[in-house]
């Protein structure tokens, strides 16, 4: 296209020069015409962006981007798929897992996506899915917005290029989650779910802090540095263990750890493991948001043994996070009413099922009793972890609270005084 345009400029130049000469003029104009025709053809073959769609239609035609999704309703999986257009999901970390999760949600027609990352795309990311080599150098949020808005222009995208662990970044993060301009009548925060797809403990703790303060349900995801295992976890403040309730769980690799630990921090990654974890994460997200199936509280993935451990974790009553403790108190207050409502709903559903004995006679009085108990672990009891899971970090040692220092000593510790002392030491 560029070469064509350059040629056209040259042609125009020659027209200008040959203006007094009418014979040359005619041929130049003809040439110019054919070039314009060529350009028009090129422009026609260039990729076109589809226009926005007003309503999700279930009509089965090739041109309907949502026909296969709306079929979920016809198949009886989802009651109201179109609800997805009202939903907002925030994705923190647009890396190997986050970018794929964003693409999946975009293709599902999610209403709004909020994307957070401070990194740029590098060639070293090309072993993972989603980003393309020509996007190297762009911020991950910009590159993602570019691709995602091409795939589905119906999705409202908001990107934030910043580090959420810094004081300023965290404030922006909190206010962006609170913002309800997309759906002003929504209860609680402005988003329906936060997905943590970050690669470090600090950022996870920052997401945890924000979600505990906002009483915001979120899901955590992670892939091990050796690229062979991963996990997803659902966190409902007050109801399930928060990320600070206990040291984070990791899926044990099942082979001798020493053979896997490498010096250096260049973490390994595979498009497969990242894709599987992103798939598990978004599947759990869809189940939670569109109310179908069983939403996993914790699901691990050990690719070396194809082992998927699951568990549930109750919050730690001695959690070090003050906001978590507040949410726990609130949850205990509403729990009886909630349980009663669930029981009433289940009884109502049971009534709808036509009662009638499965077998007309029961000579031996055989009855079936439910003896399945979900694995529930208190967040603190590390020895009670199900097979295949270990802790990533140790718990903080108990320490005695030293009684408040007497006022005589505190007179000396003026903060300016201390700063000057350190500056004096720094000076020489």
């Amino acid at each position: 296209m560029e070469a064509e345009l350059k040629e056209m400029l040259n042609d125009l130049d020659s027209i200008k020069q040959s203006l007094p000469d009418p014979s040359n003029l005619a041929s130049s104009i003809l040439k110019l015409q054919s070039r314009v025709e060529h350009l028009t053809k090129l422009a026609k073959s260039a990729p076109v962006r589809r226009t926005k769609v007003q309503d999700m239609s279930a009509e089965v035609v090739d041109s309907n981007p949502y026909s296969r999704l709306m079929a979920l309703q016809r198949m009886g999986i989802v009651d109201n798929y179109e609800r997805i257009r009202e939903l907002s999901v925030a994705i923190v970390g647009i890396g190997g897992v986050g970018s794929v999760a964003a693409e999946m949600l975009t293709r599902c027609g999610i209403g709004r996506l909020l994307l957070y990352d401070y990194d740029t795309v590098e060639l070293a990311n090309m072993n993972r899915l989603f980003f393309r080599p020509e996007q190297v150098g762009m911020t991950k949020t910009d590159a993602a917005s570019q691709t995602l808005s091409d795939i589905n222009p119906d999705v409202v995208l908001e990107s934030f290029t910043m580090n959420i662990t810094t004081v300023q970044g965290f404030e922006t993060f909190m206010s962006s989650l609170r913002n309800k301009s997309f759906r002003p009548n929504k209860e609680g925060s402005g988003v329906d779910l936060v997905l943590s797809c970050v690669d470090n403990y600090e950022a996870r703790m920052a997401v945890n802090q924000a979600c505990n303060e906002l009483n915001q349900t979120w899901m955590e995801s992670g892939v091990s540095e050796d690229a062979v295992s991963g996990h997803i976890q659902l966190l409902i403040p007050g109801e399930t263990a928060c990320f600070a309730c206990a040291p984070p769980l990791v899926v044990a690799s099942g082979v001798d750890e020493r053979t896997l630990k490498r010096e250096g921090v260049c973490a390994a990654s595979l498009p497969t493991t990242m894709g599987v974890v992103a798939g598990l994460l978004v599947q759990n997200t869809l189940k939670l948001l569109l109310h179908f199936g069983h939403v996993s509280p914790y699901l691990g993935y050990n690719s070396l043994k194809d082992f998927f451990p699951t568990m549930e974790m109750r919050p730690n009553p001695q959690c070090s996070n003050a906001a978590c403790l507040e949410r726990q108190k609130e949850y205990l207050l509403v729990k009886p009413a909630r349980d009663a409502a669930i029981r009433a709903k289940m009884e109502a559903e049971a009534l709808l099922v036509p009662e009638g004995p499965l077998h007309t006679d029961n000579e031996w009085n055989i009855s079936v009793e439910d003896d399945t108990e979900p694995e529930r672990t208190d967040a603190t009891s590390s020895d009670a972890l199900p097979e295949g899971l270990t802790r990533e970090l140790p718990t903080a040692d108990e320490f005695q609270k030293i009684p408040v220092t007497d006022p005589a000593t505190t007179t000396f510790d003026d903060i300016e005084e201390l700063r000057k002392q350190l500056d004096a030491l720094n000076a020489d």
């Binding site: 990194d119 662990t165 810094t166 004081v167 965290f170 470090n200 403990y201 600090e202 703790m205 920052a206 945890n208 802090q209 600070a244 040291p247 630990k261 010096e263 250096g264 921090v265 260049c266 070090s320 996070n321 970090l393 140790p394 718990t395 903080a396 040692d397 320490f399 609270k401 030293i402 510790d413 903060i415 201390l418 700063r419 002392q421 350190l422 500056d423 030491l425 720094n426």
Partner: protein, 177 residues
Amino acid sequence: MEGWDPNTKSTLTQIPLLTTKAGPRDGAAWTTRLKEEYKALIAYTQMNKSNDNDWFRISAANPEGTRWTGKCWYVHNLLKYEFDLQFDIPVTYPSTAPELELPQLDGKTQKMYRGGKICLTVHFKPLWAKNCPRFGIAHALCLGLAPWLAAEVPVLVDSGMIKHKDDATSTTCLSAW
């Protein structure tokens, strides 16, 4: 603490421990914590000077004490290599440790995350988690940055990734002097 050299161990025991568990969003409690941080840093710097083992300068870059900048250096084969040092206090501090950055070494070693954040995962993070909230900035420098410099600077010098200022031929490739 197994596997640490006796020198580091004895230095560590002399850095005052902190008691206030507060981060930059905790208002007055953060000021108390900041005072403790200063005291620990002052004690550690004084100790280093009296032991002739002075190896860093650090001071708060904003009044809130959430951003810190300074320098650190390491002597290898009798030559001194000095680097800019900077870090932010994370919102979740002290549950999470500060991520120490040496921006001039960004991209020069694999034992570093993007932006020049040194890798503390294996040798330091578990210690920090175990000792929360008693460890502060001074402990992070002593147990996080010092061993990293001791392990990485010789490798960086020997592999030619960094040059001493006297060997440098042009000023643009200079990250140490």
